[in-house]
Each structure stands twice: as C-alpha cells, then as structure tokens.
C-alpha cells in the first residue's frame, strides 16, 4: 500500500486496523455488523443498535440526516456468510465498545448453526490457524470462539484440532519455533476441552528434547528456546483450565525446567545491552528471560495462579449462566499426538538467549509491570510476536500496540494516555501500568536487541513513527521518557546500541518536525567532546542535518547549541582549498580541477601529476601522497554538486585512483583523508563516497580501519573513538566485509572463500590490536602526558566499548562460519 497516505489502512480484507477516521466508512461498518447480528438473541442485538445510535449522536450527526439519507438502503447488501464471519473473526476484541462474550458467542453460534455450509467451515478451518500466527494478541479470543462452538457442535472440533496439530508438527520440523509457540498457546487456551492431561504431555516431550540438547552442549540455544516456549505456555493452560491437576502438572514441569532456566547462559554476557565499567554490575545481569519467567511462574504458583493480566473470554458473565454450563459440560476431545522431529533445528534465524530489557523499569512509580510479575513476560511476549509477525504492515502493528489494553484482562492497565505524573496519585491496589509505556518498551527491546533484531532496525523506527502518528498525546510523552533514559545511560550502553539509539532518535525527530526539548540537556553542551553525552549530542545534530539542512536544524536549537553548528555546515559546497593561493600546489590543484571538469582523457592529466611529483621530490615529501591528495581533492570539488556528480567523476578516473590506491598504503590512506577533509563539515557525504570507493576496491577495508583507528587521522589522542561518524564508517565497512563473506559462503562458492575468510580475520585482528592499545592505554599518544588533556580515562573507556562491539561481531561471524561452512 504505497499510497497509504491516500487510503485507509487495513480496510477491506484488513479487518484490524481499519476504520476509525472516516465517519462514512464507520457508519457503513456499524450498519453492516448490526445486520449480521440478526441471528442473535433480541437482547444483545438491541444493545448493539442502541450503541450505534448513541455513537451517531456522539459524532454530532443529527438523526434526521440518517433518517432521510437514502444511502443506507443501497448498503443493505449482505455479504455472503463466510465473508461476514471472516470479518467478524478478524475484528475480534478490537473494539473496547463491544463485549467479549457477546462477540464470541455470536460468531460461534453462526459457525455451529451453519455446520453444513461447506464454504463457511473450510474458511473457518483455514482462518483459525492463520489468525493464531498473524494476530497473536487475539489467540485467547479465537480460542474462546472455538470453545463455544464446541459447546454447541462438538463434532466441528476434531478437524480443527487435527489441523492445528499437523501444522504444529510441520513448523517444528522447519525450526519455526515462534509458530510452534503460538500454536501451543492456542491449544493451551483450549485445554478445558481436551481429554486427560491435554497439552501437558506435549510440553513434557518438548522438555525432554531441551534436556538432551542442553546436556550435549552448554552453548546450545535451541534447548533454552524450547524451555522458553514451555514456560510461556503454562500460564495459558492455567488460565484456561484451572484445576488442582493442572497445578500439579505445572509444578512438576517447573521443577524440571528450573535447572535450565536458572542457569545463566554461556552467551548471555555477549548479548547484554549494557556494557558497564569494570567493577559495576549490569542492570540486567540477572534478567535472562527464562530465568525471570521461571521465578515469576513460581511466584504465581505460590499465590494460586491468579494470572490476573490474562484475558478469559471463555468465562461468561452471570447473565449467561446457561452458556457457562454448556461450556463446563462440553464434550472433551483427545488431542492428536504432536510428534517432534528426530533432530530439532534452529530454523532460518540463529537463536540467542534473550534478556528482558526495559527503559521504564527504573522509575520510582511503576508504569510497566515489574520484572517480578509474570505480566511483564506474558504481555511482552505477545506484543513482540505481534510486532515481528506483522512486519509487512506497520500501520496495523502500531494499531495493535495502541490497542494493547483491549487484549488483556480489564484492569490490567490504567486508562490510556494517563499522564505519568498522575500515576503517583493512584490508589494502592489499582494498576498504574501505562499501556503506551508497555508498548513503547516492547519496541525498544527490539531496537536494543543484540546481536540483531529479527527485522531491519528501520522497521522498528517506522512502528514508533506510526504509533506516534495514531496517538501522539499518548505515545509522545512515553517516548520522551524513553529517550531521557537512553541518554542518561548512554555511557554504559553497548556502543552499537548507542549508535542505534542515535540513528532512531534522529530519524524519529525528522518525522516530527525535529522537535525536541533540547533545553533539558543544555548543561551538557559545555562537556568535553569526548564525554558520552556530548558525543551523542554532536552525533545527533550531524544526523539531523543529514536528513535536513543546517539552517533548519539550527532553528530548532536553543542558543547554547548554536555554536555547535558552525558556518561551514551551512555551506552546501565546501571550499576548494587549492583556490587559496597560499595552499601548496594551488596552481596544480586548480588546473586538475579544470581538466576534470572538461572530462579530458587521462593522458592530459598525467603531465600535471608529473609536475606535482617532481616538485614534491624537491621538497622531499612523498610524491605519490602529494599528488593523490591534490587529485582526490579535485575530484571531490568537481563532484561537489551532488553524489551523482562525484560518483560519475570517480567512475571516469577510477583507473588512476585504483593505481594510486594500489601503489602504497600511504596513498590509500591519503585518498580517504582527502575525501574526509574535503567533506569534514558533512561526514555523511564522506562516508557515502568512501563506501563507493570500497565498492570499486580503490580503498580496502583494511585501509579504512587503519585510517580510523591506527593512524590518528580521524582525530588525535583517541578522539576519533568518540565520534559517531567514525563508528559509523568503521561499522559499515565491517558489515560490508562480513555481509559479502556470508553471501559467498551461503551461495556455496568455494573458490577464493578461504582467502576471504583469512582477510576478514585479519581485519578483525587489526581492529582488535588497535582497540586493545586504546583500551589499555598503551597507545603511544595516550602515554605522552604532554599532548593528552587529562581525558585518558575517557579514551580508555571508548576503547573498551569499541572493542566489545567488534569482538562480538567477530565471534558471531566465526559462529556463522562454523555452522555454514562445509569442511574443506
């Protein structure tokens, strides 16, 4: 839906996320659904009608308009039954105005009554498993429909159970563990209509697999994933079929999972989002997801499993006592066996242990469930699945996040958009959890997921953007608090995550007029540039300017920040240093530029280069470095109009540049220096150009690393390490190298792979050596007290942070090679 800004999201087949803004459409939907409620008992359909009339009045539409409007007559078209049922199922629980049990009953009744309608039954059979995977928040509600159907027409359940168990098997074979988890969650909600122990034997089987895997290797991640699935399924069983037997079975299972869940995973240290200084403990040191879950469930068990956040749409209110009795006495079914594959596999995505991360958990007032409460895990799990499953429609994802309170037990959250300050005044026993904080927290946990989240980071940006567009008054203040938390903790955040935060923050601001309360951080403007907070400010301003332009950004900043954006940033095309007569080789520089502008053949360039060489020799400076500087700077200047211009110019001169780059290390470094110096006010442009030079192999990845980390070119005394753009340059270069290698390995090419692997390892080695010397303070520049300005500790800290990022990268690439490389 590219033209989404002109169309309603979600409408038509979408079901969820549709409706809302267009009053005409809403009225149509309302009248559509009221007509499809005709088979309902009089009481509830009357209630529906009253509500519609009420909402029309609330809309400010006079009844007269409706009464004499002839349009509704045309709209009295009834969609075929399967279509209507599909629509109602898809829209389950979406509206806080409808009551769960009414919705559930009305759908179930139609399905049970039309048991001979082949089309309807097929569509129901197809839709249920699909909804379970695509709209995970609605699983309990779909299950409730199925339970009511069972109480009315038990025969309809067997094919459904057969279908679900067979797709579960299939997904388990493929290693699609999230899908398995979702199907099991659905079956857990059906526990009350299953014979015997219901789902428990399946969980037992899963556990025995997990034990095998864990005993085989302590690095194993599938076993922990299976334990996570077990622990996340148990609460749904107990919410659906509370009984002493269930509690007994759950207790037995949890006794067993304890060993695996409570043991910190070997890889956990690698993926901790915090990188604290030596001697301090990470705020999430004890927050392994399964470890927390285990404790939370034990906690629930000792309180008799209240599980107060879970919705129980299968429980009828008092006035529906008849239906409740039918449900209680409904026929039970044997769950078809779900056999797990002989050899379980990881599936398409590498698995890592998970850490529970929250940007709100430190607050003095609880705006999200605390890590001791099972609600934190259960709600987070459902939201994360929603976010990651619905990557193909961020508008719907955002809608689900905003509506999160619709899908959990009433009273779980405080009213939407309640200001944070108001939480303090809450009564002791009422919940103070803000639904928007819980939603934003879930997205942030993905943004800050190491090693990488499931989708591109920009997806999570876009979800936050949409959520902020749908409910700015609710979401924006929550984001503000999240931003403050990240800013204040940037010093101990993993450096890669710090950079991710920077990237998201500026991208987000660019979608909302670059509005931010910069005044809050005004005091940090005077910190040294190497301070993590100042570094973040400088990085953010640069990124903002890249997405906009200097003058615009200046206009959004309070006075103390103005000095951070110098006049050179407002200049679109930087000066050509050789236009200044006093620059050495000024004449040659201008001449080369003129030649390049005229696009002369290379032969005409050579004489000028020769002249530079001989002059340089006379002054006993490196001739090639000198000529490379003049030439590359001229290329930048001639191409300064736009990236296309400079790329075209590089394309025309690439042979000369390739030769220069191949001739010496110093010349390669000079190419980079020339580009960065010319574009020093706009590092984003420089980085783009260097990326293209890497593609042409004019510069090598090693040269970029040397330039940034070894040669002191990017800033003296380790200052380079604090610059966000230097990190970006190096990070992109490394990603380019590893990405290419992965492509080659996956493509099954064997020729030259070993060379590439060696090259990659060398690259990581170079980085490691350089960074270790910064981190340990053994770098020459650092040891020289004359030149350093007392920031040694800052530099060491930056060195450590860099080191951690690239050691992790290296470890992950090695793990990838381990798994994917055919032994040679």
């Amino acid at each position: 839906m590219a033209d989404y800004d002109r169309r309603q999201p979600g409408g038509g087949g979408g079901g969820s996320g549709g409706g809302g803004y267009n009053s005409r459409k809403r009225r149509y939907r309302a009248s559509g659904s009221s007509s499809s409620f005709t088979s309902l008992p009089v009481l509830s359909s009357g209630a529906v009608r009253r509500r519609i009339v009420g909402s029309r009045v609330a809309d400010g539409l006079s009844l007269d308009d409706d009464e004499y409007d002839r349009r509704p007559q045309r709209r009295r078209y009834d969609a075929p039954l399967p279509v209507r049922i599909r629509k109602q199922l898809l829209g389950l629980a979406e509206s806080p105005l409808r009551r769960w049990h009414e919705e559930v009953q009305s759908i179930a009744q139609v399905i049970a009554e039309s048991h001979e309608d082949q089309e309807l039954q097929t569509s129901f059979l197809d839709l249920v498993p699909q909804m379970v995977l695509e709209q995970p928040l609605k699983i309990p509600f779909v299950a409730a429909v199925v339970l009511v159907v069972n109480s009315l027409k038990p025969a309809l359940l067997d094919p459904l159970l057969a279908r679900i168990t067979s797709v579960t098997e299939e997904r388990a074979r493929e290693g699609e563990w999230r899908d398995v988890k979702l199907y099991l969650k659905f079956l857990a909600c059906l526990q009350s209509c299953l014979e015997g122990d219901g789902l428990f034997p399946v969980l037992d089987e899963l556990f025995s697999r997990a034990v095998d895997l864990q005993t085989a290797s302590s690095d194993d991640t599938i076993g922990t994933e299976l334990v996570k699935i077990i622990l996340l399924t148990i609460p749904y069983i107990l919410a659906a079929a509370p009984s002493t037997e269930s509690e007994q079975k759950a207790a037995e299972l949890m006794d067993k999972t304890d060993i695996i869940a409570s043991e910190p995973h070997a890889l956990q240290i690698l993926i901790d989002p915090y990188h604290t200084e030596k001697g301090t403990e990470s705020p999430v040191a004890n927050s392994s997801l399964i470890g927390l879950l285990q404790k939370q469930l034990q906690n629930e068990a000792s309180n008799g499993w209240p599980l107060s956040c879970l919705p129980r749409p299968w429980r009828m209110p008092l006035e529906e006592i008849e239906q409740q009795e039918k449900l209680d006495n409904a026929q039970k079914h044997a769950l078809p066996t779900i056999s797990l594959p002989e050899k379980v596999t990881t599936g398409p995505r590498p698995l890592f242990p998970e850490i529970y991360y929250s940007v709100y958990i430190h607050q003095d007032v609880e705006s999200v469930p605390p890590a001791s409460n099972v609600a934190s895990s259960v709600i987070r799990d459902a939201l994360l699945d929603t976010i990651n499953v619905l990557h193909f429609n961020r508008n719907v994802t955002a809608r689900f996040l905003i509506d999160a309170d619709c899908y959990f037990a009433p009273g779980t959250f405080i009213k939407r958009a309640t200001p944070f300050d108001r939480l303090r005044d809450m009564d002791g026993d009422r919940s103070s959890w803000k639904p928007e904080d819980v939603a934003v927290d879930a997205v942030f946990s993905q943004l800050f997921q190491l090693p990488t989240p499931e989708h591109k980071l920009v997806y999570y940006h876009s979800v936050l953007t949409e959520a902020c567009k749908i409910a700015p008054a609710a979401i924006a203040p929550s984001l503000g608090r999240a931003i403050r938390y990240c800013y204040q903790n940037t010093y101990r955040l993993d450096l890669e995550l710090s950079y991710r935060f920077l990237d998201w923050f500026t991208h987000h601001l660019s979608n909302f007029g670059f509005m931010w309360k910069w005044t809050e951080w005004v005091e940090d403007v005077n910190l040294p540039d190497m301070h993590p907070c100042k570094s973040l400010i400088l990085g953010a301003l640069d990124k903002e300017i890249r997405l906009s332009f200097a003058q615009r950004i200046k206009g959004t900043l309070p006075e103390p920040y103005q000095a951070l954006i110098g006049p050179e940033k407002e200049q679109d095309t930087p000066e050509f240093k050789f236009n200044n007569e006093h620059t050495p080789f000024s004449a040659e520089g201008k001449e080369l530029a003129a030649l390049l502008k005229r696009k002369v053949p290379d032969e005409e360039i050579q004489p000028v280069i020769d002249r530079i060489h001989s002059a340089a020799l006379d002054q006993s400076i490196d001739p090639l470095v000198t000529s490379t500087d003049v030439f590359m700077t001229a290329v930048c200047w001639v191409g300064s109009k736009s990236l296309s211009h400079v790329l075209a110019c590089i394309e025309r001169t690439k042979d000369r540049l390739l030769d220069a780059g191949a001739a010496s290390e110093a010349a390669r470094a000079q190419i980079i220096t020339a580009v960065i110096n010319y574009w020093s006010a706009h590092p984003g442009v420089a980085i783009s150009i260097i990326e293209k030079l890497l593609n042409y192999s004019i510069v090598t990845p090693g040269a970029v690393i040397d330039w940034a980390l070894v040669g002191d070119c990017a800033g003296p005394y380790g200052q380079a390490l604090s610059k966000a753009w230097v990190f970006e340059l190096v990070f992109h270069t490394v990603v380019k190298v590893t990405g290419r290698l992965r492509q080659v390995v996956k493509g099954g090419v064997t020729e030259g792979v070993q060379e590439e692997i060696t090259a990659m390892r060398e690259l990581f080695k170079t980085m490691d050596d350089a960074l270790v010397s910064w981190a340990q303070g053994t770098k020459d520049q650092l040891m020289d007290p004359v030149v350093s300005d007392g920031g040694e500790d800052l530099v060491k800290r930056w060195g450590e942070r860099w080191l951690r990022v690239f050691r992790r990268r290296s470890a992950i690439e090695e793990a990838f090679l381990n798994e994917n490389q055919t032994p040679t």
């Binding site: 839906m1 193909f392 961020r394 989708h455 997806y459 990236l643």
Partner: protein, 201 residues
Amino acid sequence: MRPGVRSTVDRLDAPSAYYHSRNNKRRRNDLGRDGKDGRDGDIDMADAKVDEPPEDPLKNATTLYVGNLSFYTTEEQVYELFSKCGEIKRLVMGLDRFQKTPCGFCFVEYYTHQDALDCMKYIGGTKLDERVIRTDLDPGFEEGRQYGRGKSGGQVRDEYRDDFDEGRGGLGRAIQSERMRESERNRERDNHHEDDYGRLR
C-alpha cells in the same frame, strides 16, 4: 505466510493500484494518456510485449519510484534515509525536462529485491525533508524517465495543482502562468487608472 494465501492483514509491499491501473490502460489503449494519473517519469512499457504471458515485471524489482519529494531535497538526503533499508546501488533524481532542476521525484535502486520490498514497508509513507513521501515498486529505470512529463517540464501533477505547496514551487504551473497573465492584464488596467487619476489631479 505461504504464497497464495491471503494474509489477514494487508501488505504494504504490494505495488500500488496506480501501477496496475496504468498497465491495464496501456493494454486497452495503446496511445496511453500520459500522466493522467498524476505521476510522471513512468514506465514506458514496450508495446510489443503486451500479448506475451504475464511475467510479473516487478517480481524481482530492485528499483523504487519515490514521489512527493520537495524540489529542494538533495540526493544526499535521499541517500541518508533510504540507506536504512540497504545499500543503494543507484539513485536517479527526477529533473525538470527544460531546466534540469529537481522536480520532486527520484528512482532508488537497491542491490536486492528484498531491500526494495523493505523500503516499501518501512519508508514509504514516512517523512523525508518533512514531507510524506510515496514509494512504488518499479520495473527499472530507463534513460529518459528521469524527466518530468508535464507540459512545463516538471511532473504532470504540478501542472494543475490548486493548493500552494512551497516545496514544489507553489501553485500548479499552469495555474501560475494563468495568474501571471491575469496580473499582467490587471497591471495594464491599473496603469490606465493611474493615468486617469493623474488626469483628475
């Protein structure tokens, strides 16, 4: 989801209705009514291939048409935003046919189809340079398509726009020139008035 199964939620990475309606129109009427739909620099479908079995030209598309840019948005800005979905292979700015200045659209080419789809999902409909931009999958750039096809050289949609859009040169160009002529006429009339006043004095 498996191919062939309709998702329970619409996908944002499908080609727009515009793309399909355009192709159908071409099929029905070979003359084509260029730019009638308000988008320029569009696909010149090879007319001869019309009858061949429909191989979806977007199946492996790596290029996106990007619309509703400000005339002042630079390549560097486009790079900065669109690189978030993957490395950009090529960027072609849409230019005014006569003045050779940006006229509010561009083509972004990625290295992979997946990057292009992701861009549809994550960037289409968000803001660049404070404007909501629009992305559409495109079968690929061809020389000539970088130019606007409006009468005045820009995009067709900028000819008859009657809203004032500062980022796209104010009012529609046709309307602008209309107004210009009108004010010219008015000025002539005003001159007469001044003369008249002079005479009265």
